[in-house]
């Protein structure tokens, strides 16, 4: 019987995995080692600033084990959403680590690098030709937004990765990719069912998170057959169960039955999960429905300013009792002293112990607290203005003579000196849209012989 075995070492490249689990995975002679390196979860900063949200030495450690095993055993290795956000700086960061390791470990292989950047011109053209569509709750895209947006990436489907594999690349480092694509590209190329391959990829991209107990830092094995796939744990402490796999199907998705991706959607309305013993679960019934037009998800971030913050504690019960009014008054005072600060920038108070997490939606925001933590959060068009707004707000709040005050020496307990910190550039997601295009033309392949 035809079987295709995939080893997924970790949920995010750099999150780590036990070597014992990895060795157990290798003992199953996998046909592919694949890993997702990215996510939009950590927010827009990493895409905008060209930085990785994972640590270089942790990524290097994970990659050294994967690269060493893959090249020595002749197993293809595919890495997607390189460097987290998957734009050119992130891709380059990952490729540099791969080159370093190849050199150090004395490995020779053909490396495929697939970029995922999208130019402003491509999106402007798409806008003019009505090929751009906003995703749920995203403001419509305009030429002005595009002009303010920095790096943009498209989430590639399986096709650009298949192109690299067909060109004989033994290791593929891809920019921003649809999470399941790195797992599904090779088996689909060999004729395995797209629905099963992509659904398996959807689960394997989180490695052992879908097991019980779940972990993003442990390996998982997926075995694709003609009409089902099997999930298998690689550590004695975990097992896959129909419930754990079904539960994972809900995770981070707006609809667990219909999962849109590049070029079509996964239809999971007829799936079934079967416990086949030894911690393994067999899944069948997943199908892929190609769409009439090929669309890709585009992500882009724009810089909205620079942040300076101050962190302080408040213990005085008289002050705590009227903290909302006090902060409103401080904001007004700051505005009188320095009108430009609030006209050009924004000032937020995060009041932990009251409603720092949920704001107005906090059901217990009027419950009594004995202590509050406050973060003064100033965002302005340039770093100096952010410093000024933060500093002025901090000093105003520190000495503010609120009604009923009897602690007249200072209102804030600072844990640090300096009290004010620069938190760097601030971005927001400005593009999160679908672009109707084709599967390949946005994703150039370059090949390096290492």
């Amino acid at each position: 019987m035809a079987r295709f075995t995939i080893l997924s070492p970790t949920a995010i490249l750099g999150y780590g995995f036990p070597e014992s689990s990895f060795e157990r995975g290798l003992a199953h002679n996998p046909d592919l080692i694949a890993v997702d390196a990215g996510s939009a979860d950590p927010g827009p900063y990493y895409l905008g600033a060209g930085k990785s949200f994972t640590d270089r030495s942790a990524v290097r450690r994970d990659l050294s084990l994967m690269l060493g095993a893959a090249v020595r055993h002749g197993i293809p290795l595919v890495i997607g959403s390189a460097g987290g956000a998957g734009a050119t700086p992130h891709l380059q960061w990952t490729v540099d680590i791969v080159k370093e390791l190849a050199d150090e470990l004395g490995l020779a292989f053909r490396l495929g690098i697939v970029a995922a950047d999208v130019s402003r011109h491509t999106l402007l053209e798409g806008l003019q030709q009505h090929r751009v569509k906003a995703l749920t709750s995203v403001p419509p895209l305009t030429a002005d937004i595009l002009n303010e947006t920095g790096p943009m990436v498209a989430q590639m489907g399986v096709e650009p990765i298949q192109q690299a594999l067909t060109a004989g690349c033994e290791v593929v480092v891809a920019g921003r990719a649809y999470d399941p694509a790195v797992f599904a590209a090779l088996p689909m190329l060999q004729g395995y069912d797209a629905g099963l391959a992509l659904h398996l990829g959807k689960i394997l991209e989180c490695a052992a998170i879908a097991a019980s107990p779940g972990s993003g830092a442990d390996c998982a094995l997926g075995i694709l057959e003609k009409d089902r796939f099997i999930l298998q744990p690689l550590s004695d402490s975990r097992s896959f169960t129909p419930t754990s796999v079904a539960a994972h199907t809900l995770y981070e998705k707006s609809d667990p039955y219909i999962l849109p991706g590049p070029g079509g959607h996964l239809d999971l309305r007829n799936i079934s999960f079967e416990d086949i013993g030894h911690g393994r679960v067999a899944v069948s019934g997943s199908s892929f429905v190609p769409s009439r037009e090929y669309t890709l998800k585009i992500e882009g971030a724009r810089r909205v300013g620079y942040r300076s913050i101050a962190i302080a504690g408040i213990r005085d019960p008289i002050m705590i009792a009227s903290i909302s009014e006090i902060l409103d008054q401080v904001r007004s005072r700051v505005n009188e002293l320095h009108p430009a600060g609030l006209q050009q920038g924004s000032l937020h108070f995060h009041v932990y112990g009251k409603d720092g997490v949920m704001g107005k939606q906090e059901p217990l925001r009027n419950a009594p607290s004995h202590e509050l933590g406050i973060v003064i959060d100033a965002v302005c068009p340039d770093p100096q203005s952010a410093d000024t707004l933060c500093s002025l707000t901090r000093s105003t709040l520190l000495h503010f003579g609120y009604a009923g005050r009897i602690a007249t020496a200072g209102n804030l307990a600072f844990p640090f000196s300096p009290s004010d910190l620069r938190a760097g550039e601030v971005y927001e997601f400005s593009v999160y849209h679908l672009l109707q295009t084709d599967a390949l033309s946005l994703f150039p392949l370059s090949i390096l012989e290492l």
Partner: protein, 107 residues
């Protein structure tokens, strides 16, 4: 009166995109899931009340039998990581649902 804390296996929130998030409830017992589903206890009016938003803001409520789960999709007020955001991953917005006292079948 009881809260979901007493009967649910999972009550959680998480971004489904930088602009939307989802509340997931997974029940321990099929009986409780069926009870909630058949009585229609979770609807857009309830979510609107718990989260202080208009009913039209509730994007979707989906029942997922294989996991004994209910998924509620909501828009984020501020996109993930933009100035004024309070929860970049959207992972701590589940508590109004967790603490909600639901009516017993016999009430």
């Amino acid at each position: 009166m009881a809260s979901l804390q007493d009967i649910a296996l999972v009550v959680r929130s998480k971004n489904t995109s930088p602009f939307t998030y989802s509340l997931d409830i997974m029940f321990r017992a099929a009986r409780d899931y069926e009870d909630f589903k058949s009585r229609g206890l979770i609807d857009s009016a309830l979510i609107a009340e718990l989260y202080g938003i208009g009913q039209d803001k509730v994007l979707d409520i989906i029942f997922f039998d294989p996991a004994l789960a209910i998924k509620i999709c909501l828009p984020r007020e501020i996109s993930s990581g933009a100035p004024g955001d309070r929860d970049v991953y959207g992972a701590q917005q589940h508590v109004p649902l967790l603490l909600w006292n639901f009516p017993h079948a016999s009430d």
